[in-house]
Amino acid sequence: MSLVLQTFSSAKDANAALQAPGTRYLGGGTLVVRATNEGDVSTSSLVRVTDPGLSQIAVAGGKVRLGASVTMAAIASHPELAALAPAGRAVGGPAIRNMATVGGNLFAPAPYGDFAVALLALDATVVTEGGETPIETFLAGRDTSRAIVTAVGFSLPTAESFRFLKVSRIKPKGVSVLSIAALLELAADGTVSSARIALGCMADRPIRATAAEKALLGCKLTPREIAPALAAAGEGIAPITDPIASAWYRAEVLPVHLGRLLSN
């Protein structure tokens, strides 16, 4: 079984080609070529778009727009995206980061997709030719989505409000045991006034820890006050089991790592 690659200059033209059975979109290749190398014969045709606009990073007025082909390396080294650099650096090794894209990360099955966890905490908007979709809706429907993602947009967090943690067994880089991203606003008295927490590896795709978010409101970030949020972190999770860790282990260590992220 061999592959045929079709190259288009715009996402609009490529969208039509992507509707054919057995066709997948080729971003950086770290998911799609990996699958075909592994013997996935369900893919017979790949579609890619060379539009340079897809690789652009735009930061203006507190808003960020990342083209779908922007790589993890580009995010990690962008001077205005320092708050996101830890999430960009969390993906793969240097070569993977030069290839893996924002768009592809939205489709990466757990244990991959650490950057999408960050985007979920940031309440990003996913842009396709058809319009804009909140990331939560997008992730829920990604298995049947056939529209090419062209960009993601979100409000740029301050370094203080955005926290990201990836836990892996191999240092300095390894596949996720879990990843956590948290966007926290604190009131003047140090209590949490808003919280949005996203988890990786706690389902087959990034999910929110809504019970923990609620439990955090009005709390100071001290071990005693965050305890109820940590206890609630496991509500609604269905962690994956893979060679890195079992679902049981992931569920056990989630509150520990969430506690470390919140108390730092």
Binding site: S2, L3, V4, L5, T7, L26, G28, G29, T30, V33, R34, T36, N37, E38, L46, R48, A73, G92, G93, P94, A95, I96, N98, M99, P172, K173
Partner: protein, 160 residues
């Protein structure tokens, strides 16, 4: 299956080939062009043995389709030695006993070369980070890290 033309610069020389659409750069380099320095380890993006430098950036040739490299400048470990004289990184890997079975070595050297091109005097942490996408099952990594640091010192002494 229709063949497609690809044209790129490999270690300074122009290459043009007809390949089957969907061929990985790794297979094109090894099977069509005859540069067997990039190794096919996992074909999954995990081991880094196939690492090459494309337009100055470290990439995995097993996950890169050759036809996406039209017009690119590709460097592999096979192109490092000049006139029979080994590159300082190759020399350092030999001297530090950083290569045992040797399978990971070309990928390690490519990753190290990108590091030294950008950071001529790296810290140990820089080296560990730069090699973090490359797996070695023989050495325990320490001799490799030492080799890269030795090569960096050799480079800076030559430059001084």
């Amino acid at each position: 299956m229709a063949k497609v033309p690809v044209q790129f610069t490999l270690n300074g020389s122009e290459k043009a080939e007809f390949i089957e659409s969907g061929t990985t750069l790794l297979n094109a380099l090894r099977d069509k062009i005859g540069d067997t320095s990039p190794k096919g380890g996992c074909h999954q993006g995990t081991c880094g043995a196939c690492s090459v430098i494309i337009d100055g950036e470290l990439r995995l040739s097993c996950l890169t389709l050759a036809e996406t490299c039209n017009g690119a400048d590709i460097k592999t470990t096979a192109g490092l030695a000049e006139g029979g004289v080994l590159h300082p990184l190759q020399r350092a890997f030999l001297d530090a006993f950083a290569t045992q079975c040797g399978f990971c070595t070309p990928g390690m050297i490519m990753a190290a070369k990108v590091l030294l091109d950008r950071t001529p005097n790296p810290s140990r942490e820089d080296v560990v980070e730069a090699l973090s996408g490359n797996i070695c099952r023989c050495t325990g990594y320490e001799p490799i890290i030492q080799a890269v640091l030795v090569a960096a010192r050799a480079n800076s002494q030559n430059a001084a």
